[in-house]
């Protein structure tokens, strides 16, 4: 059954309906496109003969706004009235190019290709009109939704031209002219999320809302210890419980997939494809029946080697490693040990941050239906193509026989780059021979995440008599084995290359737990460390932190040796002028230079560069007698290029990133006996409404092309708040969560 994309969430209501309009559809030559940009307008734009214009939203919408922003790029160049455009979520299909949500890359990688898609289509509509009128195409222009010939005062709607345009030879890519940004009508203006009305009226949009005829519901009870196996379970008893249709047991994970690093989403962030993990699946008529049956489930687990793991042991091992010579030199130049010996002042500090869960509000879920060798899936995923190929491999289904529909996603934050739950749903559906919706409980989600890796850092900095930073030594005790370290610091991470004597070391201990990307992966942890330590150095030097940072930025960077420079980001691509621009802006807007010292109140600064974006943030806090922190205000200045595509979505991303940073400061995942101790939002708390600071955002516009900002705005918020707490109290927060440093948010 071919499903109408727009209505896939309610398949029952659709069988008699569907669209039968004359879609604008033709092949498109793309020889001159660069491969990344080889996108066809026919994939993205449907112009019906009645004038209805439908734009396809290619990427998964996880709350980052791409379902609105990416079609805005097409609509701008196509020249249509945004209010009359319909936006539909695309299924997974090669014709759309990459369809993932990660790394704050959507803006950067689509800004020109999608505008070209819109412009190419507009040009074809003009050609069709010019031919009908017998006038040169150059005499034709467009107003939103219409082609005009001003001299003869004639016009056609796009709908009237759609049929003719189909018969035309598409323009060559080098002939496509894009608008001058000063003529933009859509890009750069705030546009509300296209799904808002559906959201505020409770329409089914999300993966969890999918309903397929004959669908059963599944829960999957996996081992409380990662890598554990099922020895036995009371499945006969469970099978008799109300509504239960099937009970499946996975005793062991197939050897070919267990624990094998499968793909690297970000450097240093290893996503491990696990196959279907051991556990017991309960399939029932209703989810609540499956979940109720689970409460009676008794499994005898063999927890395996993971059961010896604990957070205490991790910390103890890391402390040993930080005292011992490092196992890996990320980067070293000059004579760091010699310079530390001769320095006028040496500052030493140990920092650490814990494992974190993502806790997307919509728990992991996927609906799958397997029939006649074909798998059809509806999933809330950030990385549906990866899920599809994982399923093809694991379940031996040709990729051509797997159809993936993308739903709106109730939060991503990196968790849904891992597609474990997609594979589970596919496997269950194939096993039971009926459509199944697998829904993890919140407890499943918190205890079976791929966690933001914990990190333990030891830092030493040397200042000369003038308070100038002359030596920097950092050592990260992380998790991993061989060359793969979770959450590793980039070799070029600031202030790498800006200090005359420098060393960045890593040691690692093994870990039997999945780790993965959490919004601004790596950076969300080590920005807190590095930018906190820079603040300590500035204080020790008796200098203003902003002035101290600017001095480092003004240093001529020492380039990385090319062979070692395989890691992305960091100092090698950092543009000091852009960073100085946001620093100056936030200093001015926050009144940094004229701030007054009030007892119990403080201001802190931090800046950070990642995911091609530059952010500087100032936090103002007060701390009460019980060490409870109130964050009053955060000023944020960002530089993500010369164009903010959707200012409304952009501001929302920064607000969200700052509030997420606050959540991260108070959360931790700990292990005892190999088991994750936190299970829900009570033990892994999100920041609350009444804890929100005022957030004021300013853009520093630079001449560079637009880049993403879901991630780069997050990392500086953590050190800015911690540095403000120091300013208020004289106490450094070097260990997260806050509680482990004796603080909490009020």
């Amino acid at each position: 059954m071919r499903l109408n994309r727009r209505s896939f969430l309610q398949i029952t209501a659709l069988t008699g309906g569907g669209l039968a309009l004359g879609f604008f559809d033709l092949p498109f030559a793309s020889a001159q496109f660069d491969p990344q940009a080889a996108l066809s307008p026919t994939a993205f734009i449907h112009i019906a003969t009645d004038g209805t214009i439908t734009l396809m939203a290619k990427a998964p919408e996880i709350g980052q706004g791409v379902k609105t922003m990416l079609p805005m790029m097409i609509a701008e160049e196509l020249d249509v009235d945004w209010n009359k455009v319909r936006v539909e979520q695309a299924d997974l299909d090669d014709k759309y190019g990459g369809q993932s949500a990660g790394g704050s890359t959507s803006t950067q990688s689509n800004y020109l290709p999608l505008r070209r898609v819109g412009a190419a289509c507009r040009q074809m509509l003009i050609s069709a009109a010019a031919t009908r009128w017998g006038v040169p195409a150059a005499e034709c222009t467009t107003t939103p939704g219409r082609v005009l010939h001003a001299a003869s005062e004639r016009s056609f709607s796009y709908g009237e031209l759609a049929g003719d345009a189909c018969a035309l030879t598409p323009p060559s890519m080098d002939s496509i002219k894009l608008k001058d940004p000063k003529d933009f009508r859509i890009i750069g203006k705030p546009h509300a999320n296209v799904d808002n009305h559906s959201i505020v009226t409770g329409k089914p949009l999300f993966g969890i809302d999918v309903k397929v005829p004959g669908m059963l519901h599944a829960v999957f009870a996996k081992s409380p210890v990662y890598g554990g196996k099922v020895k036995s379970a009371n499945i006969d008893e469970i099978k008799k419980l109300p509504g239960v249709r099937h009970v499946l047991v996975v005793t062991d994970t197939p050897a070919n997939s267990a624990g094998t690093p499968d793909s690297q989403i970000e450097p240093g962030i290893v996503i491990v494809a696990t196959g279907v993990e051991p556990g017991v699946v309960i399939v029932a008529d209703l989810w609540w029946q499956a979940q109720s049956a689970r409460s009676k489930l008794k499994v005898d687990w063999d927890f395996g080697p993971g059961a010896t793991q604990s957070s205490e042991k991790f910390a103890a091992r890391a402390a040993e490693q930080l005292k011992a010579p490092p196992t890996d030199i990320l980067r070293a130049y000059g004579d760091v040990d010699g310079a530390l010996k001769t320095a006028a002042k040496v500052v030493e500090a140990d920092y650490s941050y814990p494992f974190l869960a993502h806790g997307t509000l919509e728990p992991m879920n996927t609906t799958a239906s397997y029939k006649d060798g074909k798998m059809e899936m509806w999933t809330a995923s950030q990385s549906p193509a990866a899920g599809k190929s994982q399923i093809a491999r694991a379940l031996n289904i040709p990729p051509a026989n797997i159809t993936v529909h993308l739903t709106r996603v109730g939060g991503g934050f990196g968790r849904r780059l891992n597609t474990d739950y997609m594979l589970e749903a596919a496997w269950i559906a194939k096993s039971v021979g009926a459509p199944v919706k697998l829904l993890w409980s919140r407890e499943d989600d918190i205890t079976h995440d791929d966690y933001r890796p914990a990190g333990y850092h030891s830092l030493k900095g040397g200042l000369d008599a003038q308070g100038k930073l002359i030596a920097w030594r950092q050592h990260l005790a992380a998790f991993g084995e061989g060359g793969r370290v979770a959450g590793a610091v980039d070799a070029t991470e600031f202030p790498s290359g800006r200090v005359p004597n420098f060393a960045s070391y890593t040691s690692a201990q093994p870990l039997l737990l999945r780790t993965g990307a959490l919004r601004a992966p790596g950076h969300n942890g080590y920005a807190f460390v590095l930018k906190g330590f820079i603040d300590e150095l500035a204080t020790a030097a008796g200098r203003d932190p902003i002035e101290f940072n600017l001095e480092l930025l003004n240093a001529t960077p020492i380039p990385m040796a090319p062979a070692a420079n395989g890691r992305r980001g960091g100092n090698d691509t950092l543009n000091a002028d852009r960073m100085k621009g946001v620093i100056k802006l936030v200093a001015e807007k926050s009144g940094w230079a004229n701030r007054k010292k009030v007892p119990g109140r403080g201001m802190g600064f931090a800046c950070h560069y990642c995911h091609a974006g530059y952010f500087a943030e100032v936090a103002e806090v007060s701390v009460d007698a019980k060490n409870q922190i109130t964050v009053h205000k955060i000023w944020a200045a960002g530089d993500v290029g010369n164009q903010i595509v959707n200012p409304s979505g952009a501001e929302a991303q920064v607000q969200g990133a700052i509030l997420e940073a606050m959540s991260q400061m108070q959360q931790e995942i700990t292990l005892t006996g190999g088991q994750v101790q936190q299970t829900n939002y009570d033990s892994h708390p999100l920041i609350r409404f009444d804890q929100q600071p005022e957030i004021e955002l300013f853009w520093s516009m630079s001449e560079f092309g637009p880049t993403g900002l879901g991630e780069p705005s997050l990392p500086p918020a953590l050190p800015a708040i911690a540095n403000a707490v120091f300013d208020a109290t004289g106490k450094r927060i070097r260990t997260l969560p806050l509680e482990r440093s004796g603080f909490s948010f009020a």
């Binding site: 505020v200 999300f206 969890i208 919509e362 109730g410 919140r442 929302a652 607000q655």
Partner: protein
């Protein structure tokens, strides 16, 4: 006496997981559902009555994504047995207004509140119940009212803005 106690206990225990016919009034429509009486209202709404607007977030009453109105009071439907909703009027996000134009809904759209959108039905239902009782709230009252509804994306600044806007538009008069 002891026998009777055990018979009663047996009856109670055997009722667990056993479906009963229950009459529910949801969004002014009466329907009969056959479910065990201890089933959380949330799962009856979502999977039996096919009203997907109320969301499952935590299952322990902490996040508020499942918030619905029970006789006008905001309740956590994941913590409300369906049996306790019998004889009462349940309002979900789908039934908040016939046209999706309740002032709170309108404000939410105008302010462009949602990011992922998953928690917003619960946020809206909480705000509606709150504004019905407190038509002209102070910021501190808004803080108190909304503090127990979690948003993972961080839409709080815009929720505050939308509530202020709904107050201006007279959200209170629209609440039943």
């Amino acid at each position: 006496m002891t026998d009777l106690y055990f018979i009663c206990l047996y009856v109670i225990l055997s009722k667990q997981g056993t479906a009963m016919s229950l009459k529910l009034k949801v969004n002014n429509a009466v329907s009969t559902v056959d479910v065990p009486p201890d089933t959380p209202l949330l799962w009856v709404l979502r999977d039996v009555l096919d009203l997907k607007g109320s969301k499952y977030g935590c299952g322990i009453g902490m996040c508020g994504a499942c918030t619905v109105l029970l006789d006008g009071q905001a309740v956590r439907s994941c913590q409300t047995n369906v049996e306790s909703a019998v004889g009462k009027s349940v309002t979900t996000i789908e039934g908040l207004s016939p046209d999706g134009l309740h002032p709170v809904q309108v404000a939410w759209e105008q302010v462009d509140v949602p990011q992922c959108g998953y928690c917003q039905a619960g946020q809206i239902m909480t705000a509606v119940a709150f504004l019905a009782k407190t038509p002209h709230p102070t910021d501190a009252q808004i803080d108190d009212a909304m503090a127990a509804n979690l948003c993972r994306c961080g839409t709080y600044p815009r929720i505050r803005q939308a509530i202020r806007q709904a107050v201006k538009a007279g959200a209170a008069v629209h609440t039943s």
